[in-house]
Subunit: 246 residues, 2 copies
Amino acid sequence: MNHQQPNFDNLSLFQKLQQELARIIEETPAGERLQSEPELASSLGVSRATLREAMRSFEGQGLIRRRQGVGTFVLDHQQNIETGLEVLESIETQARRIGLDVKMGYLDINKIKSDVELAKKLGINENEEAIRISRVIWVAERPAAFLVDTLIPGILEEKDLSDGFTGSVLDLIIKRGKPELSHSKTEVIASPAPSDIAKKMQIQRGDVLLKLDALLFDKTGRMIDYSQSYFIPGFMKFEVIRSIGK
Amino acid sequence: MNHQQPNFDNLSLFQKLQQELARIIEETPAGERLQSEPELASSLGVSRATLREAMRSFEGQGLIRRRQGVGTFVLDHQQNIETGLEVLESIETQARRIGLDVKMGYLDINKIKSDVELAKKLGINENEEAIRISRVIWVAERPAAFLVDTLIPGILEEKDLSDGFTGSVLDLIIKRGKPELSHSKTEVIASPAPSDIAKKMQIQRGDVLLKLDALLFDKTGRMIDYSQSYFIPGFMKFEVIRSIGK
DNA sequence: CAGTGGTCTAGACCACACG
DNA sequence: GTGTGGTCTAGACCACTGA
C-alpha cells in the first residue's frame, strides 16, 4: 500500500483537501449535517486524521461546528461585530447594538487566594482573596467568547453577581457607578485554545483564539480587575487606528 | 494492544505529556538539540503523532524550534518587543530601539494585476498593476514576522527596492518623504499559519499567528498600501489603551 | 443501544540537511 | 548515505449524544 503520494506540484494533499472541503461546505445548506467523518474520509480518499486536520481551519472560521456524538454541521454566515479597539466596551453592548442576541452560558464564580504572581499583577497582598468570574458568552446561539475576570477585593460581592448578572463585569460596574472606570491596558495575543476552554466553547483544543489580556483601572488610577478574554476568530472584528509619530 | 487509556482524571494524555515536555525543555540548555522524535516518543511511551501535537505549543511559545533534516532545538529566552498598537512604526524601528539585530530574510517583489477584490480594496481600477512585496523579518537570528505589502502604482518603483531596502516599506516611504503618511486602519486577527508562510517562517502549518491587516493612508486621505503582517506570538507584545466612553 | 466525533497508536514514505 | 523532521494511513478504543 502506498502511504504517501509524492508532492509533485508543491501543493500538499492537505491543501487540495481543503479546497474540496470548502466546496462541499459551500454546497451544503446552513444547518445541514455533513457526512460522518469515516464516510467523508473514505469518499475523499484520505484518512480520517488528514480529514480532521483539514476541517480544523473551517471550524476556526466559524463555517462548521463539530459536535461529539452528534455530527458536523454547516453554520449560517455570521454577522461580524466590529469594534474599535480603543473603546472599552463589553461584547454584550457591542452585540446588542447591532441587534444580535446575547446570552451567558457556563458561569463559575470563585474566591481565590492570590499567589505571588497574581498578587503582583493585581497590586494586592499575597494570600489576599480575589474574586474570579469565568463564563462563556453566546452570541446568536453560538459560543463567541470565554471571559475570565479576576477582581481585587471590595469591588463586587457575590450577591452582586447572583441576580441580574448577564455576563459583563464591565457593564455591571458601570451600572453600579463605582468605582468610576477609566481605561484598560490591553495586550493583544494570538493563542491556541487550552483544552478546558476549548471544551466550554465547543471548539477543538489548539484552535486559534484571539486573546485580550487587560488590566482595568479606575479614575483614581487604581487597578481593579485583571481580565482575560478569548474570542473565536471570524466573530468579532477588532480594529485600531495606528498613527505616525504619535 | 491497548490503543488508548481511559481518561480517569480528566487530564488528557496530551496534557500530561505537555508537562513532561515542559520539564525536559526547561532542563535542556539553550541551543542544545533534543532527542529525535522517535527516540523521545519511545522514551515517553507515546506515539510520534501525539508527541508532535504536544510539541506544537512549545514551538508557538518560541521555546523550541524544529528544523527538518536537522533536529529540534531549545531556544534561549527571547526579549520581547513591546509596542503600543496606536503608534504606527515598523518592527525594524521597534527592534532596533531595544538593541536587537534585525535582518531581512526571503524577499519577493512582484507586479500583480489587481483582481476585482484587490482593486476594490486599494481603490484602483481592475487590471491595474500593483506592486507586491513579501519578505520575512528576522529578529535576533530568528524569523519573527512575515510581511506582505501591496502598494498602489506610483508609490515605489522596483529600483527603490533594489538597493538599501531593509525590509520596511513604512520606513522607506518615510525616508523618501512622499507621500506623507498619516495613519493606518488596522484589523487585529488570530490566524493559523498557511503552509507557504509557515515554511518561510520555519514554523509548522497551523501554528498560531497574530495577524495585522492594515490599510495605510497618506495625509491627503488617499489609501496607498494594503499590508498584511504575520507575527510569531511571544516575540512581539502588542498593547493598546482602551478607554471608557470615547 | 447505535452512531457520532475525540484521541491515540504503529508504521510507512517523503523532503530536507549535512557530511 | 544517514538521520532528521513532515505527512499520511489504517485501525483501535474512548466519550458523548440521542433515540
